[in-house]
Structure formats: C-alpha cells, structure tokens
C-alpha cells in the first residue's frame, strides 16, 4: 500500500508507480537531481541556500516542527569536520510515511541530504533507518550505489570540487533511537541513550562534531523547495506552516494509508480522503500527531485544520503527522493501556522519573482496565505525570505523560465507569467487532 490520495502532490509525485518508480532513471525523468546540479553549476552560496529554505518556512517533519532553515544556520562555519544525519527511525506508533519515502522515492531523500551537506559544509552523512524496515534499508543502499555511480555523490561531485558521501545505518529495535541524540549514540555503536542537551547536535553531534539532523520527509522536501522557490512552497500551505505534509492515517477508516495534502487542509477533508469511518461508525477520538500527541475528542478535531498551529490551539500536536482514528467501538482505557505499555517498554532507563514513572503509569492503567482500579487512581496517574514532565533528559517521559493526561481529561467518565463497575463501558462484543479482523458472524 502506498499513497492513497493527494491534493497537491510534491513528495509523492514519484509514488504512483509503487515499487516500479524508485530507481535513479525514474527519479531523473521526473526532474530529479536537477536542483543539486543547479546548486553546483550556479555555485550557489551557502547563505543563499539556507535563506531560501528559511523563506519556505519548512518545519521539521520529525515531530517537533522546528524551522529547518534556522536549524541549518546554527552550524558553525569554521569547523573542519561536520555531518548531516537523516532520521528514518520511524517508530512512533501511527507513523509510516518515511518508510514509503524510502521505498518509493529514496533519491529525493538523497538529493535533499546532499544539498543539506553543501549548505552546512558537511562532507559525509548517514541515514539511520528503522531496523524493522530492513527491506527499505536495502533499497536505500541500492539507491546510494546508483547515485554514486552517476557521480552525484562521492569525491569532486560533477567536477565541482565539492565532495560528499552518504551511508546507511540501520537500527535494530529501539524506539528511543528516534530521539536525535539517542540516534547519534546508536550510530557511534552504543546503546541508544539520549544525551543531555545543551550542547545541541549543531555544536556537539556525531563523534562530537557539528551535526545537522533532520527527518526523512524534511530532507525530501528540499529539492522541491529549491525547484519552486521558498515563497511558492510556503504559499502552498498557510502562514507559519509552509508546504505540503504527509499524513499517515491509521485505525478505523476505510482506506488507511499515506496522504499528501497542503498544510491547513481541514481534518474533515482528510477523513473523507481516507474513505470515511469504517462501517460508517461514529468518530470517537483522534490522536493527530503520533501516539505521543494528546488525544482529541472527535467533535474537537472535526473543527481543526491539519497544521501545527490549528492542532496546537486545540490542545494537541501535529507531531509526525500520524493520525490515529478511533470509532465508538474503542474502549479508551484499553487503548491507553496499550500506549502506556509502549512507553514503559521503550524507556531507555537512564532517568528515574521516566524509568519508574512509565512503569507506574502502565501498571495503574492496567489495573483499571482489569477491574482492579481504585477511586484514587486517576489522581495518582496525574500526579505521576507531574513528576515526569520536563524532569528528564529527553522528551520520552513527556510523550508517556501526554496520552495519560489527555485520555483522562477527555474521557474521564469512561475511566470512572471502569473503576466503579470493574468492566468496560463499551461492550466487549462491540469492541471485538471494531477491528475488522473477524468476518461478520464468524467465530
């Protein structure tokens, strides 16, 4: 399954042929590597390049939404050794866009990374690819060989005197390596335990050298921004929310998959593109930006547009653009129990509030779900999150806390029902039917 639908295809122009359109000649046929050639041939200055990216108001697609041009400008000019790193460790539940970028258009990511390397003065780069998508890692290595053979990568690229090489590194099952400094540790051949910041990677990154790290989709957008100009890219979206964005829609919709739409597209439009609610059932809740983002009730998200500012105003985060749709067959306690287990399982363990807190959250939600909840448990959960948020080395502790707080805030009565009646508010038979795994009437 690839791209399901799009309003304004940029990143997904190459996806229509699925597995048959990823190679170098296909990419070149659709204008690929033209921007990289232009940068070299026109001897574009690093400052002009970064200024163009700033104009686009491209914001990092990995979750935090930090302006990309600004991030690049933090790289010290004089340092002799610098790196560019791509974050394809896509492991945030609900997110599956970078995998498709790797499968269907790896060269756009390569071109974006080379241009970034030129802009910040790096001579080498690494793409860190989620271990579970090993097939995509292999394809990326093939794409790198093609780019090298064509002279887009390597020494003295296209006779310009500029050299840059790029390599693929795979993970092997650790969500925390998606956190940028955990990722850097992992490339260094260690446990992926995040580093205390500051210093930020722009000053102390891979092997202690200045490093620019961006998400896969961020890099993939770069050639398009140079192609149409920063301002035109910005205007595709809305002010402060430039361009188009990939949304990974999962859960209770008729057509789950990836969608590329302009920033600011109404959620209702996205839902319609995803084929609407499965079985025509009622929308109950949506997690709009990956499992770490606070959940929003259906009626709230229906009034939102899909961009950083609108979702933030509604009390959540656009995050990675992973839209998890839940209908009325979902027991919110059970849903939260699974998410809390994830953070407990994936905490790297070096900060006490996160290591112990994530365990507390999971165990208390678990006991509520299993009919052993106590009246004071909801207060206890909120208190535990108070002791986690903002008190740790990385944001995983916050990511574990947000779901708990938001699920309780918006669906409190369901939790209270569970504690009082020792069972789900949503009938188990109805829950069972919701997944679509069992054919109607089958055992």
């Amino acid at each position: 399954m690839a791209l399901i639908d799009t309003i304004n295809p940029l990143l997904t122009t190459g996806w229509t042929k699925g597995d048959a359109g990823w190679s170098l000649k296909d990419y070149e046929a659709r204008g690929g590597y033209k921007q990289w050639r232009r940068v070299l041939e026109s001897k574009m200055s690093q400052d002009d390049l970064i200024a163009e990216v700033k104009k686009s108001v491209l914001r990092g697609r990995g979750g935090a939404g930090f302006p990309t041009g600004l991030k690049w400008s933090f790289m010290p000019k004089a340092a002799p050794v610098k790196y560019v790193v791509c974050n394809t460790d896509e492991g945030e539940p609900g997110t599956f866009k970078d995998r498709d970028l790797m499968r269907f258009d790896p060269h756009s990511v390569i071109e974006g990374m080379i241009i970034a390397g030129y802009a910040v003065g790096a001579k080498a780069g690494y793409n860190y690819i989620h271990g579970e998508i090993f097939e995509a890692y292999q394809r990326f290595e093939e794409a790198l060989d093609q780019a090298r053979a064509a002279g887009y990568l390597g020494d003295n690229i296209l006779g310009s005197g500029f050299s840059f090489d790029l390599f693929a590194h795979h993970g092997w099952g650790a969500y925390i390596c998606g956190e940028e400094t955990g990722l850097l540790e992992s490339i260094e051949g260690k446990k992926g335990q995040p580093r205390f910041k500051p210093p930020f990677p722009a000053n102390f990154g891979l092997y202690g050298k200045p490093t620019t790290i961006n998400n896969t989709e961020t890099f993939a957008a770069i050639p398009f921004i140079l192609g149409m100009g920063g301002e035109a890219y910005l205007n595709l979206g809305k002010p402060n929310n430039g361009g188009t964005k990939l949304f990974s829609v999962s859960g209770h919709v008729n057509r789950p998959g990836n969608f590329e739409v302009p920033m600011g597209t109404p959620f209702s439009k996205l839902l319609e593109m995803a084929g609407g609610m499965r079985g025509g059932r009622k929308l109950k809740a949506v997690i709009p930006g990956g499992s770490s983002a606070p959940v929003l009730p259906g009626e709230v998200i229906m009034d939102c547009t899909m961009d950083y500012d609108s979702i933030a105003k509604a009390g959540s985060m656009l995050g990675s653009g992973a839209v998890i749709v839940m209908d009325e067959t979902v027991c919110m306690v059970k849903a939260l129990e699974r998410l809390s287990y994830f953070y407990y399982e994936e905490s790297c363990g070096q900060c006490t509030p996160c290591r112990e807190g994530s365990g507390w959250l999971y165990r208390v939600v678990h006991r509520i779900e299993h009919g052993e909840g106590r009246p004071e448990d909801l207060d206890l959960l909120n208190r535990v999150t108070d002791n986690m948020m903002g008190k740790t080395i990385c944001a995983l502790a916050d990511a574990a806390a947000f779901p708990v707080r938001s699920f309780i805030k918006h669906f409190k009565s369901e939790f209270e029902y569970h504690i009082e009646n020792k069972k789900c508010l949503v009938d188990p038979e109805i829950q069972r039917m919701g997944s679509g795994f069992f054919k109607a009437g089958a055992a």
């Binding site: 399954m1 896509e90 492991g91 539940p93 609900g94 997110t95 599956f96 970078d98 995998r99 690494y126 989620h130 271990g131 579970e132 998508i133 090993f134 097939e135 390599f167 693929a168 590194h169 795979h170 993970g171 092997w172 099952g173 650790a174 969500y175 992992s186 490339i187 260094e188 051949g189 260690k190 446990k191 992926g192 092997y207 990974s248 829609v249 999962s250 859960g251 209770h252 789950p256 998959g257 990836n258 499992s291 992973a322 998890i324 749709v325 839940m326 979902v330 849903a335 699974r338 998410l339 994830f342 399982e345 994936e346 790297c348 069972r432 919701g434 997944s435 679509g436 795994f437 069992f438």
Partner: protein, 167 residues
Amino acid sequence: MNTPNTMLSPELSPESLKKIDREVAKYPADQKQSAVMAALVIAQDEKGWLPKETIAAVATYLGMAPMAAYEVASFYNMYDLHPVGKYKITVCTNLPCALSGGVHAADYIKQKLGIDFNETTPDGMVTLKEGECMGACGDAPVMLVNNKRMCSFMLPEQIDKLLAECK
C-alpha cells in the same frame, strides 16, 4: 526444541567477516565500533542467535570491549540472546495495529501454533514474539518474519498462508 549449542564455534565465517568489513568501511577509520549493530545482525544471521561467545568475537573483531558489544546486543530488541525457532514471527500489537486487528491476529496465531508469546513450537520451527510499532500501521495487522521480512494485512487467510510456509 533448540538448546544452546555448545559445539557451535563462536568464530564468524569468512563471508560474514567480509560483510562486516563492508560495514566498517562506512565509518571514519577510528570509529570501527559504529559497525557493531550491523555486525551483530550479520553474526545473528549466521548463527541463528547470539551466544555470548559470538558477541565477544564480534567485539574483538571491531576492537571493542566484549561488554560494550554485549550492552548493544541487550539494548536493542531484535537481537536474539537466546535460541529461537527457524522462523521468528513478531506480531505488532500496538494501538494503531490493534485498531485493525493486531491483537486478534496475535490471538489467532497463538491458537494455531498452540504457543504463547516468547515460546517456540515443540518442533523448533516457530518462535512467537510480541513487537512494538514497526512503522507500517497502514498495512495493519503487521508481522515481521525473521526480523527482515515484513508481512502486511495479516488477516486469518494470510496468517494461514504464512504458517504453511514455515516448514
């Protein structure tokens, strides 16, 4: 049932070492340790799992302390520090998958194999594991076979087909 095979040589084959050399070449000359993740996967592919002695052999080859390699092997979920069946099937049960049947798929496959998570069938063929998000939620339910092969839309029919292949 697989038992730790003490006869297994911890040393890696020349083919594996050649593959590891290719990984080492990706990193600066003084950063060989960066290749440890890939090297451990190559070793696991050769041996079926990672006995301590093999981890130590990888460490020695890369010029790092055995404990440093063991830390890596035990930190990341997909390294097998114990013997597994010929096929290791990992089922994602995380929320997005669960909404489209991930947990039901896990129940179904458990019942078909007569084993629970973290168990191996008596004939040593299949080990079942519960996995975290594999980044393919649009294809739910998703399963991973032997770490490297992703299987999409695993409804009962597809599960039956997969199990028939596990011979």
